[in-house]
Symmetry: C2
Subunit: 228 residues, 2 copies
Amino acid sequence: MGYRTYLDLIRPLLRPDQESYSSGMRGEIKRAQTAMAAARGGKKVALVSSGDVGIYGMAGLVLELCREQGIRPGPLTGGPGVDLPLEIVPGIPALAAAAALLGAPLMHDFAAISLSDLLTPWEVIESRVRAAGAADFVIILYNPKSSQRDWQLGRVREILLELRGPATPVGIVSRAMRPGQTVIRTDLARLSEYPVDMQTIIIVGNSQTFTFADFLVTPRGYADKYEF
Amino acid sequence: MGYRTYLDLIRPLLRPDQESYSSGMRGEIKRAQTAMAAARGGKKVALVSSGDVGIYGMAGLVLELCREQGIRPGPLTGGPGVDLPLEIVPGIPALAAAAALLGAPLMHDFAAISLSDLLTPWEVIESRVRAAGAADFVIILYNPKSSQRDWQLGRVREILLELRGPATPVGIVSRAMRPGQTVIRTDLARLSEYPVDMQTIIIVGNSQTFTFADFLVTPRGYADKYEF
C-alpha cells in the first residue's frame, strides 16, 4: 500500500499473488487507516513511503492514528495486549540520496526543515529557518513548493540571504535515483531560478561549504588541522 | 577498505579474490589516501563507512584531500582531466536506523549535531545545541562520547534542560541493526544515567514528542487538524 507514484516504482517487484492498493496525494490518512485495518484483519501489509518511512513519512501517521483510536501497537512478534504488530523498516532518506548525488554536503551539522505549512504554522517554519541559518547549519529543505504553495521558498531565500553570502553553494535535486532525476548545483542568489516541486529537495551549504570539480563539499575541517 | 570494525561486518560478503585493507580509529586520513592511491593505480576500490558515507563519513574527507592535493575527481565514466573517477553511494544513515528502532521521532524538523570537538571548536557546537533547542527542532546527537571526551554530553543535557522539560522523551541507540544493539527510551532528566560510546546515537524529542506503547513519536500534526 502506498502513494500511487511510489507504488508504481516498486510494482515490477511485486509477485502475482500480492495485492496492492494505492491512492493519490492527500489520501494519506485513508491509506494509513486502510493499511491498519488490513493488518488487524490478519494480512501482512507493507505501507510504502518514498525514501525513509521514518523521515516526514507514514510511520508517524500510523502511530498518531493508533493513539487517537486506542489501538495498541507492538513488536512483530505480538504479545499480550498488542492490537497491531508493527515494524518500521528504515530506508535511504531523500537527504542522503540527494547529498550523494551532489557530493558531500552533509559532512557537518545539518538541519532538515519542511516548508509545508499545511500542518505547521508558517511562523514556526520561519523561526527554524532563522535559527538554523544563524547557527551555521547546513540546511535541507523538504517540500519546497507545491501547486498550492508557491511563495514559501522565495521567502526562505530572502531570510537566508540576510545570514549567508549570495555565493553560498546550493544543490537542488529532484527525483533522486529515479526516472526523471535532475541535479542542479547553484548558489543562494540564483536559488529561485530553477524549477522545483514536491519531489525536490534542496541543500543549502553552511559558511564553509565549497564547490570543487562539480562536487558540493562541506569540510569537516581536516585540512585546517592536519598537514596532508 | 575501511575502519576495522565496519570492514569486519561485511567480511563474510567478500569474494576470495577481493583484497581488503582496514585500519583502526584515527587512521582515517591514511585510509582515504591509501584508497585514493589504489584507485588511481587502476584498482576498483570501495571505501566503506558505517551507515551513510555522506553523513559525517568518509566521502567529504576524500574530496577535501583531492582539493588539497590537486587531484581532480569526476564521474565513474571518467572524462577529460579526471584524475579520480568517483561515485558516492548513499546508505541508511545511523539517524534513520535509530529512528526506526525507536518509533517515529523524525516526523518533524530535526537537527543533527556531532559532539566531537576534535575538529570543531566547542563554542560552535554549544551554539548549535542552543539554537536547535530554542527553535524546537528534534535533535540528533552524533559522537556523544569517547574515551577522550567525557563531559560534553552532560553539558548538552544541561543546556537542553534550560530549554525543554525534564520529561522530554529521549532515545539512546547503540550499534543499530548490528550485533550488540541496544535501544533505550528515557527522558532528558535521566539522559546521563545510561552508557554511551562512539557507536551510540541519541535522539532528543521536541516539545510535541510523546511516548506511546514503547514507541517514540513526534507528531506531524494530523490529530490537531483532522477528525479521525
